[in-house]
Symmetry: C2
Subunit: 444 residues, 2 copies
């Protein structure tokens, strides 16, 4: 008899996991709170995009979806900063035209659900809300679309039900479960730069745009149809804050002061601002991720804030690593799940830290001359010494090396670069006899 | 009409708070999960003691209980360390015979409940378990002793229901509630050194005893009747761990190896070890502590691990500070509660950190010569320059200065003392012309 896997949550991680498990021959049941996106129009209708990079792409390759997803993506080769008076500066993400990919969240989720649906051994149930789990007997309580309360159970149970996971809530009630949820004092609001004439892009389509303003910022990522999804990150309270932007006049004054170059491209600004909700920014960490035959995957295990563009990529890497372990150790779930959490928790914590650090970088540092100098030296080192030096951004984004390694290496890189600048060597970076030994020294 | 306060939880914080509010003239209702300790024998019958120090004493003074409690306490003037071969060393806690007080937890709680019960405006309900709270309409759900489910409500609601607070669980479901629960990889087990002949103390009654063994330790606090309550702190897993102490032979071998001098005084060792539960060590932090008219007090707001002996003292200081604010601002609860959490959260976080740091100090550092030297220099500085230098332990234990100040000052003290030792000035501490300027320098 085939083993049965139950997946609670059919978002990005859950639907990708369903495909992986189906390919391994398991019977898969997936329960999703929302309606079936194959037959309904996405909620709200706003276009949310995400930055897909190497870790996510590697996971999609395993299920044969990478090419199809990248076909509908827009490459972003670097950051483009907009100063208060509209001056533009650029910071490339990597060397040799390396780029990250702006993809539609809804479009990607749809592709994953469609593919999962093609497997005869995958059964998906929508409008099904998980309210409880019995961790000891491998079952979960589901309220179905017609309001019935049912128990579902499997040989193996996955909680892919997101940052506010019901499965994790049950885990939190068990003995010695480590847990934290930490909110930033910032909220976010999604807005839109509309397409230009004939669906053209009004600003550089191959960049991730940032309006860094120190204590707050706006960013924009391109969409296929020529629009950009903008996200304003702003404090809840204080002089410049959501609390002080309650009417048309204050909203327009704020945007005209700080984002003047964008305002003409945002005809729905006031309406969007008034109608769209303020989102929260939460970091969730927990340990363990596995209790008995229940395992957490994706945001359910590690919600992180979006400033390194790694939320989805990290979640997809969870699934990929889990699938690799299944390949090696199936049907020994004890080993699979134990190795899974051993490998992933430390890395999820590392990228959570890096994402918090990058928030300061994006909203503040990227606009400062000394940071631009730092970035310039870093970029030169990547360019001149590709076999000796990799930036933290590269290690995180264009690599599958563990996040924890990228974190520690990033600290060493910082020390190296500040030392080079201090010694005045930033004007002598091509001097291999001096620079390579220094790179080696700081690597240790 | 008088305002009504509802207190969920009648442990140390809840019963002290009931008295304070009653003295202010409020109608108080208190609901406690356990039975009425005035009419029943304490659960289990084991004697648990706590270290009462200045912050706790100051709070007890406000309700007139300090003298009565201290009458039944045993002064502990310092730590006495027991080496593996039974050698004893001493570290005084302060100067001029300053001491902390070993008090019986059950005895103290009983005194508080008895005093609360003397106020006609205090109603106490026992065997009443809180299962839920409605934060918006000031009510909580209670399962009463006869199994009925009732709603209780007040003008002001306090959650003093301990580390696993039901009130806090409801708060955790609200927007932007920061929360963490972190477990040590250590458990603890309570054991006993019995009285000697005629109720005499078999080891120094005026010390807190420590058997520091690096990765684990045992401690013992004196009880009035001549016994000591011992607590073994040990890892769950690993070579020396609870996992490997499952039968009489392994338990005896472990104790004879590491705590040989104590074994003859612990005739019930094996039986106690087999029967007593393993306790967990958890640190709980959250923010905010106040939502609408609900406020958390004591362990419900900040469970800390016991290694600075400040859990109860911090909780009592919560109550004292809250009472001071009521005195100043009543009936303006908005101001009272806001000032309360502003003042207390930062300090609860500081003592939580210090308690974690002290665990390493107690189980490992106190047995090391270099640490003994550090402590010696610190003690000399306290002794020679009482107007210029205060140890962190003094600031935490014999003071009511904010914990956050003690934390930052402690870091500065460390830098000073290591610098003195490094410069060889530890043999010249009486040289005021050199030492006082150095103390001043490191204070900045």
């Amino acid at each position: 008899m085939k083993e049965k896997a139950v997946i609670i949550g059919g978002g990005l991680s859950g639907s990708l996991l369903a495909i992986c498990l189906a390919k391994r021959g398991l019977e898969v049941e997936l329960y999703e709170r929302r309606s079936d996106m194959r037959t309904t129009i996405a909620e709200g209708g706003r276009s949310i995009n995400l930055a897909l990079s190497t870790r996510g792409i590697e996971a999609l390759k395993k299920v044969g979806l990478a090419d199809q997803v990248l076909n509908d993506a827009i490459p972003m080769t670097g950051r483009q900063m907009h100063s208060k008076i509209g001056e533009l500066t650029n910071q490339p993400y990597g060397t040799d035209g390396q780029y990250i990919n702006s993809v539609s969240r809804a479009g990607l989720n749809l592709k994953l659900v469609q593919l999962a649906g093609e497997y005869p051994n995958v059964k998906m149930f929508f409008n099904c809300k998980c309210t409880d789990a019995n961790l000891k007997n491998n079952s979960a309580t589901i309220i179905t679309s017609d309001g019935a309360e049912i128990q579902v159970s499997g040989d193996i149970m996955f909680g892919t039900d997101g940052a506010f996971s019901a499965i994790r809530s049950e885990m939190q009630k068990t003995n010695r479960f480590n847990y934290s949820q930490t909110y930033e004092n910032y909220g976010y609001k999604e807005l839109e730069i509309v397409p230009g004439k004939n669906g053209s892009f009004q600003i550089d389509q191959n960049a991730l745009h940032i309006w860094p303003r120190g204590e707050f910022m706006m960013i924009a990522l391109p969409n296929l149809e020529g629009s950009f999804t903008c996200t304003l990150f702003l404090g809840y309270e204080g002089a410049q804050s959501f609390a002080n932007l309650k009417d048309e006049a204050s909203i327009l004054e704020f945007f005209n002061t700080y984002f003047a170059d964008a305002v003409p491209m945002m005809p729905n600004l006031v309406k969007d601002f008034m109608e769209n909700p303020i989102g929260n920014l939460v970091t969730v960490r927990c340990n363990p991720w596995v209790i008995n035959r229940f395992a957490l995957v994706g945001d359910a295990a590690h919600a992180i804030i979006p400033f390194y563009g790694q939320g989805m990529n990290c979640s997809f890497e969870d699934v990929k690593d889990l699938d690799d372990l299944i390949e090696q150790h199936y049907p020994n779930w004890d080993v699979i799940l134990d190795e899974y959490q051993k490998a992933r928790i430390v890395n999820a914590n590392a990228i959570a830290d890096l994402a918090c650090k990058n928030f300061v970088e994006m909203r503040d540092l990227v606009g400062r001359p000394e940071f631009m100098k730092f970035k310039h030296v870093e970029h030169e080192l990547c360019d001149l010494y590709p076999e000796h030096f990799q930036s933290q951004y590269e290690l995180v984004t264009f690599n599958t090396t563990p996040y924890s390694y990228a974190q520690s290496q990033g600290g060493k890189n910082e020390a190296l670069i500040y030392s080079l600048i201090e010694q005045g060597l930033d004007t002598d970076l091509e001097n291999r006899d001096i620079i390579i030994p220094l790179i080696q020294k700081y690597k240790q």
